[in-house]
């Protein structure tokens, strides 16, 4: 696939679909959107298949370069980290379209166009190799999301759309000023070059803070997370899926791509700030989630808590932590998306998100109860599901940097189990107190088809995470090497024991089969 502009094609397909949707009637628009996203999904698979994950080749693959914009260029290219996030995007998009199939019935053409445009921009964010191109893609996402929340959202949609827009805009504009300064300092807009450029340490602090303002809002980190619950609650189901699934990951991607490699000294210097905010977020938002009466709000707060695990993993400055952060991002993208779909399923039937209006759904909706339970467990981080791998690695990583942070953040797992299981009990178990909820039909075929693939991937990611870790490993290793000179010393003082040669252990086993128990005790 040398020289074939597959990344541009992956952006052109949904763009063409978006334009076509604007002029099509409702039903045609649905099919155009579905086909466009499925084509993109196939292209995404082709991209992964052709991606060289051995780490021996170039870090940046599928590069394209066209200097058509004067001061900046149409420069694309991906590494393993971007590949995984693109894969997540193209996987979730057809599901979003499917989730909106019947739920959206006014102004369908514009809705589908907004979603497809969103897909173009998300792929653009993850592929951009030019600083300004990245910024344009990053910011432009506000427009379709503003419209999606504002037009097709719930009753308080206008407040939520304004809050979403202005909050994230204010976060990002300072980043733009920092970018301009960096480009003047380094004399290039190319991200790979900037990633290796050593900015003066005193400037790094300011630059880091400017980028942090943007990514922390996007992520979102406590205390700038308040836009998220509002946006989630008011957005239509598919909007929530894409918001939780991909848009939040732009913040984490920003940390990996910009903050850490470009400002390593400042990252190390300000890591305690990030840790502190993350610790508060894990505990505080988990407790807030515990008392929510609105399902979507509960999952929104749980997203903030999960994203805090991502930030501690990233600022652990070691491979385990960063790999874990990436896995949490991927896993959370799938699981939170699936949970929002679960909420959407019952919302479509009863048109309320109040937890108390449901109950005992496992009796009349057994298939739904099984899938919901599965995703609940995945969200809790049950071994065998995607989130376990990520959370374990991330916490292991941060333990090496700061055992106190690890201690506090691990409570998030316990609290996570509390609020998720409590939610599940109130919805699916207990008596069928509400007659209308008890009369709801089980999952339709369409809904099964939306959730089953996610469940399969969650399981795959939990059982054999190597498929997802392998493409990212060389890039994360490179990042770790870049961070190594600045990385803060850990407080855990881990001592690695000398590994015994395999043959010796066998020899012991053979020589003393009857004393194997006492042998282990040595």
């Amino acid at each position: 696939m040398d020289g074939f502009p597959i990344l541009s094609l992956m952006m052109a397909v949904p763009m063409a679909g978006a334009i076509a949707c604007l002029f099509a009637d409702a039903n045609k628009a649905r099919w155009i959107a579905l086909i466009a996203t499925l084509v993109d999904f196939v292209l995404g698979i082709a991209l992964w298949m052709n991606f060289d994950q051995s780490g021996s080749g170039a870090q940046w693959q599928f590069q394209e370069y066209a200097p058509i914009f004067g001061r900046f260029a149409w420069a694309l290219g991906i590494d393993g980290i971007a590949l995984m996030l693109i894969a997540l995007t193209v996987f979730l998009m057809p599901i979003c379209i499917g989730a909106s199939w019947n739920a959206i019935n006014k102004r369908v053409g514009e809705y589908m166009a907004a979603f497809l445009f969103m897909e173009v921009l998300m792929i653009g964010v993850f592929t951009a190799q030019d600083l300004y191109l990245f910024y344009i893609m990053f910011e432009a996402g506000l427009i379709p999301m503003y419209l999606i929340i504002g037009i097709w959202g719930g009753t308080d949609r206008i407040y939520a759309s304004y809050k979403f827009f202005l909050y994230t805009l204010l976060g990002s504009v300072l980043m733009l000023i920092a970018m301009m300064w960096m480009v003047h300092e380094a004399g290039t807009t190319e991200i790979p070059v900037l990633m290796a450029y050593n900015f003066p340490p005193h400037a790094q602090t300011w630059l880091f803070l400017a980028f942090f303002a943007s990514f922390a809002v996007k992520m979102p980190m406590w205390p700038v997370h308040t836009w998220l619950p509002d946006a989630h609650v008011q957005a239509p189901t598919a909007g929530s899926v894409i918001l939780a699934g991909v848009l939040l990951k732009m913040g984490g991607y920003g940390f990996i791509r910009f903050s850490l490699p470009m400002f390593p000294e400042a990252s190390a210097q300000l890591a305690p700030l990030v840790w502190g905010l993350s610790m508060v977020a894990v505990v505080y938002t988990s407790l807030v989630a515990l008392v929510q009466s609105d399902m979507k709000k509960l999952i929104a707060y749980s997203s903030v808590a999960h994203m805090a695990i991502v930030t501690v993993g990233l600022f652990a400055f070691n491979q385990a932590g960063i790999e874990g952060a990436m896995m949490v991002m991927l896993g959370h993208g799938l699981v939170a998306g699936a949970l929002f779909l679960c909420v959407g399923v019952v919302y479509d039937r009863l048109h309320t998100r109040e937890i108390t209006r449901y109950g005992g759904l496992s009796i009349n909706m057994p298939k739904y109860a099984v899938l919901f339970l599965f995703f609940t467990m995945a969200s809790v981080g049950l071994p065998g599901t995607s989130n376990f791998v990520g959370e374990f690695l991330a916490l292991m990583g941060i333990y090496q940097a700061s055992s106190w942070v690890a201690l506090v953040c691990t409570t998030g797992i316990i609290l996570g189990a509390a609020y998720m299981l409590y939610l599940y009990r109130r919805i699916c178990y207990g008596d069928q107190v509400n007659a209308d909820a008890a009369a709801m039909p089980d999952l339709s075929g369409r809904e099964m088809w939306l959730m089953a693939p996610i469940a399969a991937v969650v399981l795959w990611m939990g059982v054999y995470p190597e498929s997802f870790l392998a493409p990212m490993r060389p890039d994360i290793r490179a990042l770790e090497a870049r961070l190594a000179p600045a990385a803060p010393a850990g407080d855990s003082a881990i001592k690695m024991g000398a590994p015994k040669p395999a043959g010796e252990a066998n020899h012991e086993d053979v020589s003393a089969p009857s004393h194997s128990a006492s042998g282990e005790a040595h």
């Binding site: 300004y132 344009i136 427009i143 759309s161 733009l176 301009m180």
Partner: protein
């Protein structure tokens, strides 16, 4: 001394003047019936003047012994001015034909105003500057009160006249002070005199000149006339005011600041920084409460002038190039935006001006709503629309010249501005329809609207051209 080279340098102005006079005669003899023909002939005159711009560069920049400059800067500004003026002429007939027959004086007045604006941007001497400014202003006063029967229009004209005269007086006083203390009215003469340190008297002159110019570009704190005049004037005239004279006044300010007052850069930089930030913040905050779309656009123009001035505050070639690119993009957004506003007509074809009447426009007039949304997002500076690039260029120049704090404040204040642009989009897209609009717009309006929208969406492809042109324009001042 008048020689052929000098005449060639002012060929565009000659064409416009002669064309304007000829059309005035035509309209005087043929009466209102000739309005249509005069309209198109006026546009042709503008096109001819635009074509003549390339000849005007032929013999070096100075003409009439330095009274007039024909350089890349003036060509850039004039190209914008002529385009905006042509759009203002083309958009007008439909509006004026609602109450009565369109009158041919309108295009003629615009032509005369354009001559004045041409002189403003190519002035090389304070007196050329003043004559050009007054020529433009006189025509503008008449245009503001063009609808004689309409009380608001007459009021706008009167207000504009009274306040405009005051500003002209301030400017003239500043010019006289500068002349008295430097001994010259020529830009280069003033620059030489300022080169050996700025005396108190010169400083006073500088402040008065800038105050007078700030009035013309409607920058805070000399903006008070703008909302009233924009609201009261007929909408095509408002379109014109918001576009062409803005470019001319900004161009003039840039030229005076760099060419004449360049050596006093540190003195005027503080003033420009203050005026820029004040305009950005005041324009944004005051716009939030507006209910009339024309008034809102007035505050929006104040806000935009603030951003454009950030480029000037940088005081570098890149900054000047940024300011001129800003004006180019601003003109496209403004004309597109007003082409949408002109289409705000109820079912009987009567113009409507309240923002609330836009409610639900996205359901009744999809295309119009999409176009207006594009212009509003663009004005708010949201990428990928071209309005973002305009802001980018001026802020980039400010950062490059070390004004990082100014850039950070300015861009943070732009978020306030985003709020009221979003309000219009919210009204169009999120609210339910209240009144029925006319089913479709006129063909000319639609063509202009579409052209502007295409530029705003695909503008980045024009970047290489725009960069080159604005850099050449800026280089000719330094």
């Amino acid at each position: 001394m008048i020689d052929s080279a000098s005449l060639l340098a002012v060929l565009p102005e000659l064409i416009l003047t002669l064309g304007g006079l000829a059309l005035l005669l035509v309209s005087a003899f043929a009466g209102d019936a000739s309005a249509r023909v005069v309209n198109w002939l006026a546009v042709l005159t503008l096109i001819a003047a635009g074509a003549a711009l390339s000849c005007s560069l032929a013999h070096g920049p100075d003409a009439f012994d330095g009274l007039v400059r024909a350089d890349a800067f003036s060509v850039f500004a004039k190209a914008l001015i002529y385009t905006a003026a042509a759009a203002a002429i083309l958009l007008a007939p439909r509006f004026f034909s609602v109450d009565s027959a369109p009158r041919p004086e309108y295009p003629v007045l615009i032509l005369f105003a354009t001559v004045g604006m041409g002189m403003m941007v190519s002035a090389g001497d304070m007196l050329t500057l003043y004559v050009g400014l007054e020529m433009n202003s006189l025509a503008s006063y008449v245009l503001a009160s063009f609808m004689r029967q309409d009380e608001r229009s007459s009021e706008a004209g009167l207000k504009y006249f009274v306040l405009g005269s005051l500003a002209s007086g301030i400017l003239l006083y500043g010019i006289s002070l500068l002349y008295g203390f430097t001994g010259s009215t020529a830009f280069d003469g003033i620059a030489i005199a300022l080169g050996d340190g700025v005396s108190k008297g010169e400083l006073f002159g500088l402040v008065f000149v800038l105050a007078g110019l700030a009035f013309k570009i409607s920058a805070v704190p000399f903006h008070m006339w703008t909302p009233d005049v924009y609201e009261g004037a007929p909408t095509p005239v408002t379109t014109f005011f918001a576009s062409a004279p803005k470019v001319a006044a900004i161009g003039l300010t840039v030229r005076v600041a760099i060419e004449a007052l360049g050596p006093a850069g540190l003195d005027w930089q503080q003033i420009v920084i203050f005026v820029a930030l004040a305009s950005i913040i005041f324009g944004a905050v005051a716009a939030i409460g507006q209910t009339n779309i024309k008034r809102l656009m007035a505050y929006s123009s104040i806000n935009n002038v603030g951003f454009a001035l950030i480029g000037l505050a940088a005081g570098t070639p890149a900054g000047v190039a940024g300011t001129m690119s800003y004006m180019a993009i601003y003109v496209v957004m403004t004309i597109g935006g007003f082409a949408c506003i002109l289409q705000m007509r109820d079912a009987d074809g009567k113009p409507v001006e309240t923002i609330a009447s836009l409610a639900g426009l996205s359901q009744s007039r999809k295309g119009l709503a999409a176009a207006l949304a594009i212009f509003m997002f663009s004005m708010a500076g949201i990428p990928p629309l071209f309005g973002f690039w305009a802001k980018f260029l001026v802020f980039d120049a400010a950062v490059a010249s070390g004004l990082t704090a100014l850039a950070a404040f300015g861009i943070a204040a732009s978020v306030i501005g985003a709020f009221y642009y979003l309000k219009i989009i919210k009204t169009m897209y999120f609210d339910e329809p209240v009144i029925a609009y006319e089913v479709k717009g006129g063909p000319v309006e639609n063509v202009i609207l579409t052209a502007c929208a295409v530029v705003i969406v695909l503008g980045y492809l024009l970047n290489p051209v725009l960069d080159q042109a604005s850099a050449a324009a800026a280089a000719s001042l330094f």
